[in-house]
Symmetry: C2
Subunit: 233 residues, 2 copies
DNA sequence: CGCCTATCTTGAACACGTTCAAAATCTGTC
DNA sequence: GACAGATTTTGAACGTGTTCAAGATAGGCG
């Protein structure tokens, strides 16, 4: 547990419209720039402080750790994702098109950070870390992301079981995490493979969602939904 | 193969029945003990060296980094997994029972390390790291693990499409990675939830594999297999 | 203005992972 | 036994993330 970090983290929380807001933003921008330019590992806290023109300790006053800077990045891309997906969601009505739009928008937003995204995911994988996408601390950006997939679903013309309709957004988000995992490992030019993954998997999901109402698949669907319900407490 | 990493790692490779074998084993055992006792982060290389009665640099002569100690752990559980799964594979003929056996055996083997498994997965998630389960360097343990799932399949009485039969072991392994990810995040007593996940998902997979030969599902199955083929180059 | 408190800023110091040149030890050969 | 070369071992030193006691600054109040 790292929460002990007392005043430091507390002060740098969310609100803080106080004096230091400018300094906070300056440090954050500098860090993001250096992350893009040099990658995560090669960006030292000393370098961030120096380039921002502040002392090392000052950076720690606003951000509890180097990893907390990554969490800010996480929250930022969340907002950008919603923005990038908005046009498609306003235009399209077909579920497949909407889902593809949201997925592609997510990768669009992440693209500039592919080089250091590995470090991002490394952080995300640690279950004890508050930065994990599954952790309670990350519930806000996660819920926002799930809401995006819910919107892709509810705004569409697709017909499906009520129970499935309720569970699907979270499953789609989970699938999105899988896509991101693939993207992180994707070494193809411009991460074309990830695009192919999206374009290939979306019609598949679309087809399966349609099929789920068929008599032969109903038991399996029910079984899956019951399992999810069990595992969620 | 990890030979690129200079002399240090090269010497500590695989064979090396040379003099230092005892020292190597001593350091490894000490490290594993401390990992269990104190967790990964709280175990310092200095502590490992001191408890093993050697100099710090000596540990680095045999293991390129602290993370390389984790890779040894990874390889070790691989062997144990195969062993633990053997009885069930010798006894059962039903696909569902065999798959459940292999999955449960995997979790059985990992259980004592649940406390520090987070650090393990953190390492595993970094795509640039040779320790990633998807990396070329990890291909040996990965292939062994996939072979285990292939055995679960081929030794069973289940009937399925040839193309699916060929692709399924790798998919099952991928699913297993998902189970492990769930297990790492599982905070329930004795990780019961993970056991429920296995017991719930196995019949589901079994049923879907059976259904995949049905006329309604054939297009979807073909589509999925084509996608996998595309993504694999 | 002068004082008080909360906020912000500083940079030296600490612990850790890692490196490396030097020393010690072993193995084989004459 | 003595030498040469490979193998193994050492521990001081480096760079890094992080901490913290001390100082600087701002805002409110008399």
């Amino acid at each position: 547990m790292t929460e002990q970090s007392a005043p430091t983290t507390a002060a740098g929380g969310q609100g803080s419209t106080a004096r230091g807001e400018q300094t906070r933003q300056l440090i954050l921008d500098t860090a993001m720039r250096l992350f893009r330019e040099r990658g995560y590992a090669r960006t030292t806290m000393r370098a961030v402080a120096q380039e921002a023109g502040v002392a090392v300790g000052n950076a720690y006053y606003y951000f509890g750790s180097k990893e907390h800077l990554v969490q800010e990045f996480y929250a930022g891309t969340q907002r950008d994702h919603r923005e990038a997906a908005a046009p498609v969601l306003a235009r399209e009505r077909e579920f497949a098109a909407r889902l593809a739009g949201v997925l592609h928008a997510g990768i669009d937003v992440l693209s500039p950070y592919h080089a250091f995204a590995g470090a991002f995911f490394k952080t995300a994988a640690e279950p004890t870390s508050p930065l994990s996408p599954f952790s309670a601390e990350s519930s806000e950006p996660r819920d926002m992301s799930i809401a995006l997939f819910r919107e892709a679903l509810t705004g569409s013309t697709v017909k499906l079981d009520d129970e499935l309709r309720e569970a699907l957004p979270e499953l789609l988000w989970l699938g999105y995490m899988g896509v991101v995992l693939y993207w992180v490992h994707d070494r193809s030019d411009g991460q074309v493979k990830t695009r192919q993954l999206i374009d290939g998997v979306v019609p598949l999901v679309d087809r399966l969602v349609g099929l789920s109402r068929l008599r032969v698949l109903r038991p399996a669907t029910r079984q899956a939904l019951a399992l999810i319900h069990t595992l969620r407490h």
